[in-house]
Symmetry: C2
Subunit: 289 residues, 2 copies
């Protein structure tokens, strides 16, 4: 596996891989999995799908300072560079791109950012201003460096996925965005690098997020109870667990991400939740229509 | 010459041109000239340079509503589609891309925009809020559609050129930006589609913009007069002509576009002017250091 820390380095290796993996006259397909490292089974599922669908697979690991807010401690973000590299190697990744902040943004900073209107106003965008501009800017930059045919994102970050799909559509980026299902622990907790922050007691209670979501879905779909009433009860239920503080429990349109009062099987409805468990902010979501 | 009005159409033609123009194992280079049409010798010089430097030359004509302000009448913008097509054909352009607004931005609109900080605060950015976001967004989109190796821009729109260079750098777009010198009429007036708006009397006086800039350069470089004083005198001189109203006369750093009080031969200094001649806003610039 090739490991590159510079933009020029990964570019020349991709040129080389493109030439080497050519199938007759056809260009080989590049599948790309952008990550912030501390890789878990969720990332592994993205890499495996990319491996199955492309001749060349590139993974990036970059903890992007632009998507952390002033009150979010980037230095606390968990890292495991050696384990990450080993996992990529085992999964048959062709090249790993691990640039420094200076390599990506220069000695001072960059002047340019990519912004997606409206979709960032709901869910995580509310409590994390600027977060999605940071995501879009770095993803846009990574796409220009790697020039993938397809890029793989997890449905756990549902809003991020939706915003990136919109950006790619609006700016006519020649890239297919592939969305991959959430990978969960045996007890239902969605896999996340942030789970590493949880104490033993917090970890034991964290599956109640998914349990509450399943309960909500049942109340809304099977019992046909009022969406707003179920939402209020769910917040009450979640905040009953010690250390739980709800950031949001939202039932939204899958396309616009705007809150809805009724589920809609045509446009699709998403149930999305963000809860502080102690100091750790966990997110999760399920389709309910 | 291929003429395409759809994104899918130009993409499949570019794939075909790429395959057809291959030089052994090497990919052919694509040179791209984005325009708003009503082509003049300034555009022709860009196309000729692109033709000389690339195996494939693509020109786009798209009057981008996003870069017109609420007080700027896009419907008044001059058009000459048949003459434009003929000129492109004569200059050996391989494909002309002329999408509709709906093809570029959909039935409603797009949610995404690309913004470059700081550089848009000076010169034209001051009197045309949102203009450069519109430029960056459409150029970014066109770059993703055409996937050129090099794109050609005129130095007449000096701020636009500088902002696009910054965007390409910041977002690591794999594109070389080629800047081409201003083409002038025999009497010194910079070629511009907007010159078509001028009445006979206004056209006769319009060269005084370039004359005043040459006078300023002489005052500053040869006579070593104070930059601020020369600027004040230049504004007075320009506004002495009937129908002239100065938007700005600015002496700025070539990199940051911020106003300077002294010329600087290391970072470079640009003299840039925007003047309303009657209702027509004309811009021009020269390097003074």
């Amino acid at each position: 596996m090739i490991v590159c820390t510079t933009i020029d380095g990964i570019r020349s290796n991709i040129r080389w891989l493109r030439a080497e993996r050519k199938i007759g006259e056809l260009s080989p397909r590049i599948g790309f999995v952008p990550t912030m490292g501390f890789l878990h089974e969720g990332h592994a599922s993205l890499i495996q799908k990319a491996r199955a669908e492309n001749e060349i697979v590139i993974v990036s690991i970059f903890i992007n300072p632009k998507q952390f807010g002033p009150n979010e401690d980037i230095n606390r973000y968990p890292r495991s560079p050696q384990e990450d590299q080993l996992l990529c190697e085992q999964l048959g990744v062709d090249a790993l791109f691990t640039p420094s902040v200076e390599e990506m943004y220069g000695k001072s900073d960059i002047y340019t950012h990519v912004h997606v209107d409206l979709l960032g106003n709901f869910l995580c965008g509310k409590s994390r201003p600027g977060h999605f501009d940071g995501v879009c800017t770095v993803v846009s930059k990574l796409f220009h460096i790697i020039t993938p045919d397809a890029a793989y994102f997890g449905q756990k970050d549902a809003q991020q996925l939706r915003i990136i799909e919109q950006m790619v559509h609006d700016l006519s980026m020649p890239i297919e965005i592939v969305s991959c299902p959430i990978v969960r622990e045996a007890d239902g907790l969605a896999k996340s690098s942030r789970n590493a922050y949880l104490s033993k007691e917090e970890r034991a209670l964290a599956p109640e997020i998914f349990n509450t979501m399943k309960w909500m879905k049942q109340q809304i779909i099977l019992e046909e109870n009022d969406v707003r009433q179920v939402r209020v009860e769910a917040i009450h239920r979640l905040e009953g667990y010690p250390g739980f503080k709800v950031d949001y429990v939202s039932i939204v349109d899958k396309k616009t991400l705007a809150p809805v009062d009724h589920i809609d099987h045509v446009s699709g409805t998403l149930l999305a939740v963000a809860v502080y468990v102690g100091n750790t902010r966990l997110i999760d979501n399920i389709n309910i229509a």
